[in-house]
């Protein structure tokens, strides 16, 4: 690390990396490089190992959402026949292509698209639309539900590994260049390090008081989403952890004063509201610490067998396992982070993650005894967000927790 970088804060470093990444993407075509659209959970290592620049339309959509552009963008495509029931990422993106509005001046057009359905199936359909629009090949990276059957899992991994080889062949056809497996090992090694550090960062939420909230996790997640596989991502998480350790943990400073309720959040965030939610909750001594969503990038890679490790990690993400196993993953977070509250967001935009929410609530509530609040809204479209209603329900929920802890303190309930 040079002198200048050492003085940089993690936040500044993240900004610089993001800027560099999008600048690089913008000039990729001029430099004879290829652009691949890919999904947030996908073997992006293959792109980095082959000097193809991965671009994440989902990530760009988050920027449009946080800049409150989604309603306008969505309306522009609703006029073209798309319904407002679709994923807000997809609607923002398709709207961007209609209106050419973006907080970062847009993203370049794709030469290739990869849709990994471990995350969801919506991405496939959204990318199909883009594939037709740009006449660019779409590779569906198919990950059957990672069911709990040992033999089935072996077969699934075999299938996914075979697709990695197919994907490599597609990349070779795209670029006319031979794929370099040694380079893949290097890239996976960087991904391994970044993932371990990212997970260590998320796990700092286990401290009491917690030095980070889920909002910190969400902001700092971006780098591992689009730069895992690069040495810069590793550097960034080292810096972030050191900084949090020095500034918060060592001094015993929590992310909120008087931390009383340590909450789990189910689903993706309501991106355009998270600052408000943080403040509302903090006024009750409550803070959301984690979610399975942010843990979707806590991978455990083994670079010695890069193809297998990519298959294993991407097929087994929380959104692609059976509900009982997903509940266990959440319960593990409840235990490790000593969580005592549960906000479950039914996200209209994300059927994949929301569909079985009622059953998931039943399991988690039964196992933890922690009451849960299930409420419906949309992660990106303010037209489906009812401020007063959600606020009232969150407040009522926190009052329930207050009442419960009052009764517990007096031994009135178990």
């Amino acid at each position: 690390m040079d002198e200048a970088k050492q003085k940089m804060t993690a936040k500044e470093f993240s900004k610089q990396l993001t800027k560099k990444y999008y600048e690089g993407a913008k000039h990729a075509h001029e430099e004879g490089k290829f652009i691949a659209y890919t999904t947030a959970v996908s073997p992006a290592e293959l792109f980095y190992a082959h000097d193809v620049i991965p671009i994440y339309p989902e990530n760009h959509s988050v920027m449009m959402i946080t800049h409150r552009m989604t309603a306008e963008l969505s309306e522009s495509i609703e006029r073209k026949g798309y319904t407002s029931h679709l994923c807000a990422y997809a609607r923002s993106d398709l709207g961007f292509r209609e209106l050419h509005k973006s907080p970062i001046g847009g993203i370049p057009e794709p030469d290739f698209l990869l849709a990994c359905n471990a995350q969801c199936f919506t991405l496939t359909k959204w990318f199909e639309v883009l594939s037709r629009r740009y006449n660019a090949p779409l590779f569906v990276f198919d990950t059957p539900q990672f069911i709990r059957d040992k033999r089935a899992r072996e077969e699934i991994i075999k299938y996914v590994m075979e697709q990695i080889y197919e994907m490599i062949e597609s990349l070779e056809n795209l670029t006319g260049k031979k794929f370099d497996f040694d380079r893949l090992k290097e890239v996976v090694e960087y991904s391994r390090q970044a993932s371990i550090l990212y997970k260590a960062y998320l796990d700092m939420a286990a401290y009491k008081p917690s030095p980070i909230s889920i909002f910190d996790a969400l902001i700092n997640m971006a780098i591992t989403v689009y730069l895992r596989g690069t040495p810069e991502a590793v550097e960034f998480y080292k810096l972030l952890i050191d900084e949090t350790m020095e500034n918060k943990v060592k001094k015993g400073i929590g992310v909120i004063p008087n931390e009383k309720y340590r909450l789990y959040w189910e689903n993706l965030p309501i991106w355009f509201k998270f600052r408000d939610h943080f403040n509302l909750l903090a006024s009750y001594g409550a803070v959301i610490l984690t979610s399975l969503y942010v843990h979707a990038w806590s991978y455990d890679f083994d670079p010695s067998d890069p193809v297998r490790t990519l298959a294993e990690n991407y097929a087994s993400v929380f959104s692609n396992v059976e509900l009982e196993e997903r509940a266990e993953m959440a319960l593990d977070l409840f235990r490790r982070y000593s969580l005592n509250g549960n906000l479950m967001f039914l996200n209209r935009s994300c059927k994949a993650v929301s569909f079985a929410i009622h059953e998931l609530r039943d399991i988690i509530t039964k196992k933890t005894g922690v009451p849960a609040l299930v409420f419906e809204s949309d992660m990106g479209d303010p037209r489906f967000y009812s401020e007063s209603q959600i606020r009232t329900r969150i407040e009522a929920y926190l009052e329930t927790l207050d009442q419960l802890s009052f009764e517990r303190e007096r031994g009135l309930v178990a």
Partner: protein, 379 residues
């Protein structure tokens, strides 16, 4: 039996298969239900079980709502309702296919809310254009075979599978023959009756179904004759409620083709004769026409429909959209554009299992059909 008698028998079963299924069950057969799509019924049948495709219910939603988000598609909602509320004791087990987010997660809900002797998922490859998909389908079909064998306690022999292929192929062949008769002489059986026959194929033991279809063919007139109706191709996944077919009949529309999952896609593709029986099922799967949730090659989803329209010389297309089906939602804007560019008249109907599709749908269809007549008679 007379034509009307056979048609009435099959209509009754397609409208409510449960009296028939109960009688089969009383005779000792176990009933294995599967929602759409692409579970190889032949395999279940070869295990000595009766495969039944679960096609939802049009009765009110009472219990399913509490388990699903409001924007769950109408098909998933009505499937869950059918079994959870109306027929909790009419199935012995389930083979649950996963083709989209909804079916994947409904599979989890199903396991937790419905008790049965047997449950297995069937993880269909959601792409068809690469050889890995074939390898996966083969592996998954083998897993289905093993799971069924474990359930029944006896092996599924290749002989039993071949016999099952023969029977299902025969049922499909007869349905295709009837479809072709209708194409050439649309007045011979109504739209509703044609689809009652296809639907009953989803419910019946082929040994019961085949003789009825054969008898029907024997009594149907075979001479081509034009009824003067406008000709349409139906597109989508399912047409629900089935009363929509009655409306088409009323409006003097004749169906000459379709790309429906509960339609031609179900009856057009036979299991070929191969040394390796699993390979035979695999080959059949990949011969099938496109299905919205499964990624097909390039723009085949649209090209196939265009091809059906061209081959049948249809006057227009009626597209049935299942309420809240995301997959269809993503397809539709481009599909409308392509149809406009090709100057093929198309109407899109938003359908819901529980809505007694009367007034508005009928009015829209009426206007569309009138325009088809206008175009045909003036063009």
């Amino acid at each position: 039996m007379k034509k009307e008698e056979i048609l009435k028998t099959l209509h009754d079963i397609s409208a409510d298969p449960f009296p028939y299924l109960r009688s089969k069950r009383e005779s000792g057969l176990k009933i294995i239900g599967s929602p759409l799509a692409d579970v190889p019924s032949e395999m279940i049948y070869a295990a000595g079980l009766l495969p039944v495709t679960i096609l939802g219910t049009n009765k009110p939603i009472v219990k399913a709502g509490a388990h699903l988000p409001d924007n769950a598609c109408s098909l998933s909602r009505s499937n869950l309702e059918l079994v959870l509320n109306y027929h909790p004791d009419d199935f012995d087990g389930f083979v649950f296919p996963q083709v989209c987010d909804t079916t994947q997660h409904l599979s989890d809900i199903w396991k937790m809310t419905i008790s049965s002797e047997f449950f297995t998922s069937f993880l269909i490859p959601r792409q068809v254009d690469r050889k890995s998909a074939r390898h996966w389908f083969y592996a998954e079909t083998s897993r289905l075979r093993e799971n069924l064998e474990r359930y029944t306690g006896s092996p599924i022999t290749d002989e039993a599978l071949r016999e099952s292929f023969r029977l299902f192929n025969e049922g499909r062949r007869l349905l295709r023959e009837i479809y072709q008769i209708k194409r050439e002489a649309p007045g011979v059986i109504s739209d509703r009756q044609l689809f009652d026959l296809i639907r009953s194929f989803c419910y019946m033991d082929p040994k019961d179904h085949i003789p009825l279809l054969q008898e029907l063919i024997d009594v149907l007139p075979k001479e081509p004759s034009d009824d003067g109706n406008v000709k349409v191709v139906l597109s989508g996944i399912v047409v629900e409620p089935a009363q929509l077919f009655d409306i088409l009949d009323e409006l003097k529309v004749s169906i000459v083709g379709d790309d429906l999952t509960v339609g031609s896609r179900m009856i057009a593709y036979d299991v070929p004769d191969r040394e390796d029986v699993i390979e035979a099922l695999t080959e059949r799967h990949f011969a099938k026409s496109p299905f919205s949730p499964i990624r097909d090659v390039g723009t085949r989803l649209y090209d196939f429909l265009l091809q059906v329209v061209e081959e049948t010389h249809a006057d227009g297309v009626i597209y049935f959209h299942i309420k809240f089906c995301e997959s269809q939602d993503y397809d539709l804007p481009d599909m409308k554009r392509i149809m406009r560019e090709r100057k093929i008249p198309m109407i899109v109907l938003d359908t819901e299992y529980q809505s007694v599709t009367k007034a508005q749908t009928k009015t829209r269809l009426e206007a569309f059909v009138e325009s088809l007549y206008g175009e045909r008679d003036n063009g």
